[in-house]
């Protein structure tokens, strides 16, 4: 056992990278659920995004175009869910589960010829001055642009939901779709937009796995990250700030337990492997256990809306 081999700086730097795919997928799902839609297909949209991004990046040689392709792929799959649940009024839970199964199958079909292919690497940003800072430089300022994009999206979503008119309408639609309709808002239109945004974010998260973290195509590359993202949304009480805490905590413990495994700590590997899940759930349950406003689910979450005209 050699704990001195674990460098806190590298650990914290790795934490931000490990948290990014979950953060991206979760912030998308948060918007979807605040609009009153429960899309359980996050895993399927992530893995579809992962392969769409990978194919685009390989074909064009540009990882940035790859991420664009991933967002489009994820959004396209989510719109399938949107049409089924919002216009054809299918059950959201069943449709979401089916979307996951469909997405996994579709991704492995599309990925047939790409196993073992290497993707063009994503450049790390090298911010002058900042990245040379001791400690803070390697932890905060030597990542690829997607890490910062993820955090920027979270901040933008927070601002949108809290301060913009559009965010107020979106929350209203999720809280009580009958009332929103009675006031003349387009429930279905708002929800379709939210669903597409959620799909694009999940796609980005998936592509981050296949283009940065792994970085190659293997079947089942998302390995349940979509389900973690779903759980984090609920335990974060549908609030962007807590979502970041949850995603970083999960990413951090994941990296830490891998390091501990490598350092041969006398704890069973199985216990270490399950620790990120347990710690994240316990921490977020403790956060959301406090009573008060905002800890409740959106009022119309998971219900189909059909306007009587």
């Amino acid at each position: 056992m050699d704990l001195s081999a674990i460098s806190p700086v590298l650990l914290l730097a790795a934490l931000m990278v490990a948290a990014t795919p979950i953060l991206l997928a979760a912030i998308g799902e948060l918007v979807v659920e605040r609009a009153g839609v429960l899309n359980l297909g996050v895993e399927g949209m992530m893995i579809t995004g992962a392969i769409c991004g990978f194919i685009t990046a390989v074909a064009t040689g540009s990882p940035m175009l790859g991420f664009v392709g991933a967002a489009l792929g994820g959004a396209a799959l989510s719109l399938l869910f949107g049409v089924l649940t919002q216009y054809l009024l299918s059950n959201q839970v069943a449709t979401g589960l089916a979307l996951t199964l469909f997405g996994i199958g579709l991704a492995s079909l599309l990925g047939q010829g790409y196993v073992g292919v290497r993707a063009p690497s994503v450049p790390k940003l090298d911010i002058p001055v900042l990245s040379d800072l001791p400690w803070l430089g390697p932890i905060l300022f030597r990542h690829d642009i997607i890490v910062y994009l993820g955090l920027a999206i979270v901040a933008a979503v927070w601002w949108f939901l809290r301060h913009s008119r559009g965010g107020l309408v979106l929350r209203a639609v999720g809280e009580n779709h009958e009332a929103a309709h009675a006031l003349g808002y387009h429930v279905t239109r708002v929800r379709m937009a939210a669903i597409a945004f959620g799909g694009a974010c999940a796609g980005l998260g998936g592509a981050y796995l296949s283009l940065v973290r792994v970085p190659q195509w293997t079947e089942g590359v998302t390995a349940g990250a979509g389900w973690i993202a779903l759980a984090i949304v609920v335990f974060a009480s549908w609030r962007p700030g807590r979502l970041v805490v949850g995603a970083f905590l999960f990413g951090g413990i994941t990296v830490l337990q891998l390091n501990l495994q490598a350092a041969r700590v006398q704890i069973p590997v199985e216990v270490l492997s399950m620790s990120p899940y347990i710690v994240t759930i316990v921490a977020l349950v403790a956060l959301s256990a406090r009573k008060g406003r905002g800890s409740a689910a959106p009022g119309s979450l998971g219900q189909s809306f059909h306007a009587a005209r």
């Binding site: 107020l168 309408v169 929350r171 809280e175 009580n176 009675a182 006031l183 003349g184 409740a296 009022g299």
Partner: protein
């Protein structure tokens, strides 16, 4: 007063199977309060939704100040100066007052200015309201203020109010009327929908009466009696429930210090409720919605368990028992929401009859249901309570509100309860079905059962109760004999100004 603000001519709207509006025409003038009367299902809601742009008519035209008016969505109606206060479905519990108001406006100012304007308007019209409070925590009266201020901020020319007083105390109704008269003096026209005919007589200058989607009459409510208007609405002569003077027997149900936390978010905690109900007595419990009515019913039916000694039936502690154990001991209940709570919408009437009747009607045999017996039971409820339906195989959803209500109340009464608790037994039920249900409850009490009627309809409670008590914030006032209570006294009881502390010392 001669020029016309809004003119409707020949409005027709049909839904599959029903004609909601058929050739409806009338005019509304600036500065008048125009009443729209009719039973449930007469087409009032469809008509106002048409004016507000939520429903597109199949035929007919509207003109607003001489120009053609055909709003395709509420935004267009609001822009033209039409505002609407809804009976249900238009506030967001988890959002605060200012956010709720901003959602109902076309171009809301930034939140800080909006809060200032809300304070401004609320003071000018005597409707105090704090813009930063969460709507889920407000009382029914305060919620309505939110809706009204939302409308007033847009300076409407026509204000539509859909049953605004059904959830208010008499004092709150007075405040509302003062606000409406002030608006009227400023030249705003008000289209006022209500079942409460005395209110309409006090407030309105014109009334249009709808029956089955058609205009069947107009009158000046100030010169027409409530009874005449009611008969125009129903189309027949009304039967008023009657009963013999009751002799109260022994105590069957006793609540002692009943206290329970709210079972859901934005619910009400029950606080130290103590009351006794005797054989052959009808206890009416009034109160504004959201003051603990639902919670009290849950505690009595057994859906919410409480301390065993808090509820006693014939001396036996039953507070800890679940619903079926209480049913077998003779305590039955019919909750307010008939679709989804009292009845499962997509199940047949026979199946719905089994759901509560299985214990007392002996409808199961070693775990197997006795369908033949269940069907006979459902048929007997249908026959005895005049439920209009093709048969016991129809789904609960296919029944109209009044017919389903007759079925769910009848289902409990046919099980010969010793204590029956009903919540809002005639809510949203037309006048003749309501009279039928009230009579059935009175007959049940006469036959020796104790009946607790929880209702927001004070006229109903005064008509059938022997004693009256008010729920306020989860507390129950000491019951008083219903005969001789004045509206002012009831209003004070509903507002919580009863002498609770003195009552505790006495008890």
């Amino acid at each position: 007063m001669t020029d016309v603000l809004l003119s409707l001519s020949g409005l027709t709207k049909a839904y599959p199977g029903v004609v909601a509006n058929s050739d409806v025409s009338f005019d509304i003038r600036p500065g008048e309060v125009h009443a729209l009367l009719g039973e449930n299902g007469a087409g009032k809601s469809t008509l106002v939704k048409t004016i507000y742009g939520l429903v597109r008519p199949d035929a007919g035209q509207m003109t607003l100040r001489g120009a053609a008016f055909a709003p395709s969505e509420p935004r267009a109606a609001r822009a033209a100066g039409v505002a609407m206060v809804f009976q249900h479905f238009s506030l967001f519990d988890a959002l605060d007052v200012a956010e709720n108001i901003a959602l109902g406006m076309e171009n809301p100012p930034p939140m800080r200015d909006l809060a200032a304007r809300i304070r401004d308007v609320s003071e000018r019209y005597g409707l105090p309201l704090d813009p930063s409070r969460v709507v889920g925590d407000l009382s029914a009266g305060e919620r309505q203020r939110v809706e009204i201020i939302r409308c007033l901020l847009q300076d409407p020319k026509l204000l539509i109010m859909d049953e605004p007083t059904s959830v208010l105390t008499p004092q709150e109704v007075d405040i509302l009327f003062a606000t409406l008269r002030k608006l009227q003096a400023e030249g705003t026209a008000i289209l006022y929908i209500s079942h409460k005919l005395e209110e309409i007589r006090a407030l309105c200058q014109h009334a249009t009466i709808l029956r089955l989607g058609k205009v069947v009459g107009t009158c000046d409510p100030r010169e027409t009696s409530a009874r005449d208007m009611a008969e125009m609405m129903v189309g027949t002569v009304l039967q008023v429930p009657s009963r013999e003077a009751a002799v109260a027997g022994e105590v069957v149900l006793a609540l002692t210090g009943l206290t329970a936390p709210p079972p859901r978010q934005f619910g009400t905690a029950l606080c130290d409720i103590t009351v006794e109900v005797r054989k052959g007595e009808v206890l009416g419990i009034g109160g504004v919605a959201g003051n603990g009515q639902d919670e009290l019913l849950l505690a009595l039916s057994g859906e919410m368990r409480v301390g065993s000694e808090m509820v006693r039936l014939k001396g036996q502690p039953i507070g800890h028992l679940p619903p079926n154990a209480r049913r077998s001991r003779g305590l039955l209940a019919a909750p307010e929401e008939r679709m989804g709570h009292a009845a499962a919408p997509d199940m047949s009437l026979t199946e719905n009859a089994v759901l509560t009747g299985v214990v007392r009607e002996d409808l199961s045999d070693r775990g197997f249901l006795r369908w033949a017996k269940a069907r006979t039971f459902a048929e007997s409820v249908i026959a005895k309570f005049d439920v209009r339906t093709p048969g016991p195989g129809s789904t609960a959803r296919s029944l109209s509100g009044g017919n389903l209500q007759k079925f769910v109340i009848g289902r409990e009464i046919m099980q010969r309860p010793e204590v029956l608790v009903v919540n809002q037994p005639t809510w949203g039920v037309d006048a003749s079905a309501a009279a039928f249900i009230r009579q059935a409850l009175l007959d049940l009490a006469e036959a020796g059962a104790a009946v607790i009627v929880v209702s927001q309809d004070l006229d109903e409670l005064m008509e059938i109760s022997d004693r009256f008590a008010a729920l306020n914030g989860g507390r129950l006032s000491p019951p008083r004999p219903a005969q001789g209570l004045t509206v002012e006294e009831i209003g004070l009881m509903l507002g919580g100004a009863h002498d609770m502390e003195v009552a505790h010392v006495d008890a």
